[in-house]
C-alpha cells in the first residue's frame, strides 16, 4: 500500500533522520510512503489573525495537489507541517470564505476532504497497536519512555483531533505496543520555546531545563518526539541541563529500533546523548 506523503523542508535537509526513520519503519510494516511529486514549504505556522488567507496559501496548494493523487489521505510527520496542513485543511473544509478565497487565488477546486494523517495515527488505525506488538522484538521491554508531544500536535483540540489538548495518549499506546513503559511525564504537551530559539534564547533554555527535569523525575531513559524543532532545542541545551543524559529520539527511530532495523538507516549516529545503552538493550 502506497500513501501520499509530504516530507517538508526540514526533513529534506536538517531532519533527514526523521524522514529516513519514518519511511524505513513504515515500509517494514507494509506502508510505503510516496513523496508528492511537487511540493513547497507548508508555511510552518498557522496564521492566527482573522482573514490572513495569504498565510494559508502554501499549505492549501500542497493539499490541493495531494488531493489529485486520488488516495484521499496525506501523511506528514513533522509536527509543524502536520499542525498547519491539518488546520488549513480544516479551514478549507469548514469555512466557505476560506475555501472560496484560497481556490480563487490558486485556481484550484479543492474541497478540504483530504484526511491529513500523522504516522502515529497510521500505526494505530492501519497497522493496529495489537498487530504492532506482535511485530516487534523484546529489545525495548521495560524501557521507560517520556512521550513528548510538544505544543503542535494536540492543540487546538477541535481542529487537531489528536486527543485531549493537554493529555493525549496515542504516543503512550504506541510505546506500550513496542514493549516500552510510558514514563510519568507532566511536561508532555508543554512548549519547548519553539522558534524563540532565534529571539529569546533564555526562554528556550528555561523550558528545556524544565522538560529534562520532568523527564528525569519520571525515570525516563529516552524522550521521543515528532518535532525537529523540539529535538533541536532539547539537544542544543543538553550539555547544560540534561544531567541524566537522556537521549532525545524521534518516535520513528524508536520504532525502527524495536523493529530491529539497522541503525545506519535510522540516522542515530553522532548524537550528544548517546542512545547506545538503549541499542544494547535492544540487541540483547
Amino acid at each position: 500500500m502506497s500513501i501520499p506523503y509530504f516530507p517538508g523542508c526540514t526533513l529534506h535537509v536538517k531532519a533527514k533522520a526523521l524522514d529516513d526513520s519514518t519511511r524505513a519503519a513504515l515500509a517494514v510494516l507494509g506502508l510505503e510512503l510516496s513523496g508528492l511529486p511537487e511540493w513547497t514549504c507548508c508555511g510552518t505556522v498557522f496564521p492566527l489573525a482573522r482573514n490572513n488567507y495569504i498565510g494559508m496559501v502554501a499549505s492549501a496548494r500542497i493539499l490541493a495537489n495531494a488531493a489529485k493523487q486520488g488516495d484521499g489521505r496525506l501523511v506528514t510527520v513533522c509536527s509543524f507541517c502536520y499542525h498547519v496542513l491539518k488546520r488549513v485543511n480544516h479551514a478549507v473544509r469548514n469555512s466557505d470564505e476560506a475555501r472560496t478565497k484560497l481556490n480563487d487565488y490558486l485556481e484550484e477546486d479543492y474541497d478540504g476532504q483530504l484526511r491529513v494523517l500523522h504516522p502515529l495515527e497510521l500505526l494505530r488505525d492501519e497497522v493496529g497497536f495489537g498487530a504492532l506488538r506482535n511485530r516487534v522484538g523484546a529489545g525495548l521491554k521495560g524501557t521507560r519512555v517520556a512521550c513528548y508531544y510538544g505544543c503542535m500536535l494536540s492543540r487546538p483540540a477541535a481542529e487537531m483531533d489528536f486527543g485531549d489538548p493537554e493529555d493525549p495518549a496515542v504516543m503512550e499506546k504506541f510505546v506500550a505496543a513496542l514493549g516500552g513503559e510510558p514514563a510519568d511525564f507532566s511536561w508532555k504537551t508543554k512548549c519547548c520555546g519553539s522558534y524563540q530559539v532565534l529571539n529569546e534564547q533564555g526562554l528556550v533554555a528555561g523550558r528545556v531545563k524544565d522538560i529534562f527535569q520532568a523527564a528525569a523525575a519520571g525515570g525516563a531513559q529516552v524522550i521521543i518526539t515528532s518535532c525537529p524543532l523540539c529535538q533541536y532545542n532539547l539537544e542544543a541545551h543538553s550539555e547544560a541541563d540534561n544531567h541524566s543524559r537522556i537521549p532525545v529520539l524521534y518516535f520513528a527511530q524508536l520504532l525502527g529500533i524495536a523493529l530491529e532495523i539497522p541503525i545506519n538507516k535510522l540516522g542515530l549516529a553522532g548524537r550528544y546523548a548517546d542512545p547506545e545503552a538503549l541499542l544494547q538493550g535492544a540487541r540483547r
Binding site: T10, G43, V45, A49, R50, S194, G206, Y232
Partner: protein, 128 residues
C-alpha cells in the same frame, strides 16, 4: 494606527475575532504560559489592559515572547483564543513596520545549525 487607548482594543478585537471583555481575569492563561518568567506582562494582564483600553500595550514585549503554544487557548474558561489576541497585537505592530527579528541579528553558527522550520516560523511571527 495611532495606538491610543480604546482604538487598540477595537482593532485587536477585529483582527483576532476575540472579545477581550469576556475575560474574567481568572489567570489560567498566565498560569500555563510558556512565556512565564520571561514576559514582564503575562496574558491575563494583557487582557486587562485591553479592557481598560491602554495604548501602551503595543510597546509591551509579551506578544514578541509568545511562542503560540496555544496553552492559554486550551485553558481559557471563557473560550477566548488568547493566542489570537497575541497575534493581533503582533499584527498591529508588523503593519506599522515594527518587528523584533532581523536576518542580520542571526549569527552564522546558529544559522548553520537550526532547523529550517525555526527560521520560517520566527520570521513569520516576529518580523514585519
Amino acid at each position: 494606527m495611532t495606538g491610543t487607548g480604546i482604538e487598540v482594543t477595537l482593532k485587536v478585537r477585529e483582527i483576532s475575532g476575540q472579545n477581550p471583555f469576556l475575560c474574567m481575569q481568572c489567570g489560567l492563561c498566565s498560569a500555563g504560559c510558556t512565556g512565564k518568567g520571561t514576559m514582564d506582562m503575562l496574558p491575563r494582564q494583557v487582557m486587562r489592559l485591553l479592557q481598560f483600553g491602554s495604548g501602551k500595550l503595543l510597546d509591551e514585549r509579551s506578544m514578541w515572547i509568545c511562542t503560540t503554544c496555544l496553552t492559554c487557548t486550551a485553558r481559557c474558561p471563557r473560550g477566548i483564543d488568547v493566542a489570537r489576541v497575541m497575534e493581533a497585537l503582533r499584527a498591529l505592530n508588523q503593519r506599522r513596520g515594527v518587528s523584533v527579528l532581523a536576518p542580520a541579528d542571526l549569527g552564522a553558527e546558529i544559522l548553520a545549525d537550526v532547523p529550517q522550520m525555526a527560521l520560517t516560523s520566527a520570521f513569520r511571527k516576529l518580523s514585519a
